[in-house]
């Protein structure tokens, strides 16, 4: 699997993503600076990593979404190439029009950094084949703007076309208001593009691939990708 991790000024989770890919798949990803205009030849997977690109100026992800390399990322996605957009990467993907909706300030106005359970809504995608449908996995979240907002029509389409990837839930897998950390519509923690090749998610699967740092429930996502690409 050839992975390319896009690095913007202010990205800070690119090494976490790279370490997860290398640890789980054995492949060393390329790090691609935002000013590049092309992806490395043969790229299977693009990762938009977490962080605070451009200091969250204007809106989270807004400036990064207009970076030169994003035309190449959009073309990759349009060809059906895999894109994994995590946290700030999810914000960038929404701002870039790769995914619908927007991530707004958490409803409690606080930056939230904690362990969090998610339901795997479907286990038949390139990102989730190593999970079971409905399984509750525990990863972590670290964000101030993770409150997923979209208009009623978009939400209806996401639900109707089964494009919700993960929802916030409790340890028993129950999706409840109490388990929703940031006010996201329908408890949405991640969504797919209609082609199921772009996944945007606020939680950090890349941080839970080693027992040394608290958990391994994120491994399944990278194992799935290794099989897919």
């Amino acid at each position: 699997m050839k992975a390319a991790i896009i690095v913007f000024p202010g990205s800070n989770r690119e090494r976490d993503a790279g370490t997860a890919i290398h640890t789980v798949t054995g492949h060393e990803p390329a790090y691609v600076w935002h000013a590049e205009t092309a992806l490395p030849a043969g790229t299977d997977l693009v990762v938009l990593p977490g962080g605070f690109s451009y200091g969250d100026y204007l809106r989270c992800g807004a400036i990064a979404a207009r970076a030169g390399v994003m035309d190449a990322v959009r073309a990759h996605a349009a060809r059906g190439g895999l894109v994994l957009a995590i946290c700030n990467g999810f914000q960038i993907a929404c701002e870039a029009g790769l995914l619908p909706g927007v991530l707004m300030r958490n409803v409690n106005r606080r930056f939230i950094c904690k362990r969090q359970f998610l339901t795997v809504e479907r286990a038949d995608t390139a990102f989730t084949r190593r999970y079971r449908q409905g399984e509750a996995i525990e990863v972590c979240i670290a964000h101030g703007e993770g409150n997923y907002v979209a208009d009623a029509e978009t939400l209806k389409r996401l639900e109707g076309e089964n494009l919700v990837a993960f929802r916030y839930c409790d340890a028993r897998g129950q999706v409840t208001d109490a388990a929703n950390p940031n006010g996201s519509a329908n408890g949405i923690a991640g969504i797919y593009s209609p082609g199921l090749n772009v996944l945007g998610m606020m939680p950090h699967p890349e941080n839970f691939v080693d027992d040394l740092v608290g958990g391994t429930d994120g491994r399944g996502l990278f194992e799935s990708l290794a099989k897919a690409a």
């Binding site: 927007v102 707004m104 958490n106 409803v107 106005r109 907002v149 006010g183």
Partner: protein, 80 residues
């Protein structure tokens, strides 16, 4: 030519920052604010002399970058 662009949240979009400001005003004892919604103002110096061209450029700027039209409205004013 100068312009002012005002970007505000659409009605119905939750504004936690506005809520925090409401709370701060109440704690200062400044009463009478039923609700507060916050937004952004951009003061822009243009190198364009034609009004129509300036408005077209500002609209493009708003649509492509200054506002996220999923949740925000924008207003453009040319100020001489």
């Amino acid at each position: 030519m100068k312009a002012r662009v005002t970007v505000t949240l659409k009605s119905g979009v939750l504004d936690p920052q506005g809520k925090a400001i409401e709370g701060a005003l109440a704690s200062l004892g400044i009463d009478g604010f039923a609700s507060v919604r916050q937004g952004k103002v951009f003061d822009i110096d243009l190198d364009i002399n034609d009004n129509a061209a300036a408005e077209a450029a500002l609209k493009a700027a708003c649509e492509k970058l200054l506002a996220n039209t999923v949740v925000e409205n924008y207003r453009v004013e040319l100020v001489g």
